[in-house]
């Protein structure tokens, strides 16, 4: 026999008495597999006629269920635009309220403020531009003032000497 590499054995060895138990091990494995097969069913039972009706029941459920709806339905869009509008309005109000500069400020409020703060005419005039000053006309001059009221006012409030000197 040609043993080219001068080796006749692999070096592998089996456990002692291993081969004596092979047949029994195999038979016991076959038996346990067979006993598993012989167990008929899991022991669970189902109601009679259940399997006959199950398809119909499922189909009925599918038909009655609300279908999956798209997010972008007409209804949803109305809600969303309504919400968006409300938010925009709130925004507008909020911004408007924060803005201290409004065109239509009540003149009576302004008048009361000027009197209260004791702002004199020179201060007011300094706030106006030259153009505004020249444009300004005393609208009240034509009516309202009674000559008698004027005379009374001058006598009481004005020192005649101050005017003459100026």
């Amino acid at each position: 026999m040609n043993k080219k590499f001068n080796i006749t054995k692999t070096g592998f060895k089996a456990p002692e008495n291993y081969f004596e138990s092979v047949e029994d091990s195999v038979f016991s494995k076959i038996k346990s597999e067979n006993s598993l097969k012989s167990v008929k069913g899991s022991g669970y039972k189902i109601p009679e006629g259940y399997l006959d009706t199950v398809e119909e029941n499922i189909l009925n459920k599918l038909n009655n269920e609300t279908k999956v709806v798209s997010l972008f339905t007409r209804k949803n869009l109305v809600y969303i635009s309504g919400m968006a509008a409300a938010i925009l309005i709130l925004f507008a109000i909020f911004i408007k309220n924060n803005n201290p500069l409004t065109e239509e400020l009540d003149y009576q409020v302004v008048e009361a403020y000027i009197l209260e703060q004791d702002i004199n005419t020179y201060e007011l005039a300094s706030l106006l531009t030259d153009e505004e000053l020249s444009d300004m006309t005393l609208e009240i001059m034509d009516d309202a003032f009674d000559e008698e009221d004027m005379e009374d006012y001058l006598l009481e409030n004005v020192n005649i000497e101050d005017i003459i000197e100026q």
Partner: protein, 180 residues
């Protein structure tokens, strides 16, 4: 063949099946064990594969046509079971079957069921470098002294191809053993 025929007919008969099967196992268990062992390397894996092989033989005895020898048929089952086992193990650890086998060989030094010397270990390492089929051919020829005719039935390959494969295997092993 006569012995074969008698055994086969007893195996096919439900009354005598178990006793015939026990006889079959006693006859072939060692040869099949060592054949499987050379493929899967570890004793525990060999034990698993050997039992699976016999169970498969038991379940499929009716499918055996008698066109080949009973032993060739069993040898083929054992070979397939061993390679399947190797591949399954490799897959479990997500490595190739070659790597799995290499690992198994490297573990031999600490294996209780390996008492080979340095040269025997090196030969096992050399064999593991061969392609799977070539390993089978080499082992079956070199260690088991299986005739090419019988090997042809087991591996379903022509005798010529097997001879060529064996010579190639020997050359590669020689080269490996003299390389270090």
């Amino acid at each position: 063949m006569n012995n074969d025929q008698e055994l086969i007919s007893r195996l096919r008969s439900p009354d005598s099946r178990d006793s015939a099967f026990r006889q079959l196992m006693t006859l072939y268990k060692e040869r099949l064990y060592w054949h499987i062992r050379k493929i899967v390397i570890s004793h525990d894996d060999t034990d698993d594969v050997l039992q699976n092989t016999f169970i498969k033989v038991y379940k499929n005895i009716d499918k055996f046509k008698g066109q080949s020898k009973l032993f060739s048929w069993m040898y083929r089952i054992a070979t397939n079971e061993a390679i399947t086992h190797l591949n399954k193990n490799a897959k479990r650890f997500q490595i190739s079957s070659e790597e799995a086998q290499e690992q198994a060989i490297n573990n031999l030094t600490s294996d209780v069921y390996f008492d080979g010397n340095e040269i025997q270990l090196k030969l096992q390492q050399a064999i593991a470098t061969l392609p799977q089929k070539q390993q089978l051919v080499f082992n079956m020829k070199y260690f088991d002294n299986i005739k090419y005719k019988d090997m042809s039935g087991i591996l379903e390959t022509s005798e010529g191809a097997l001879k060529a494969s064996y010579h190639l295997a020997v050359k590669k092993i020689e080269s490996y053993l003299t390389s270090d």
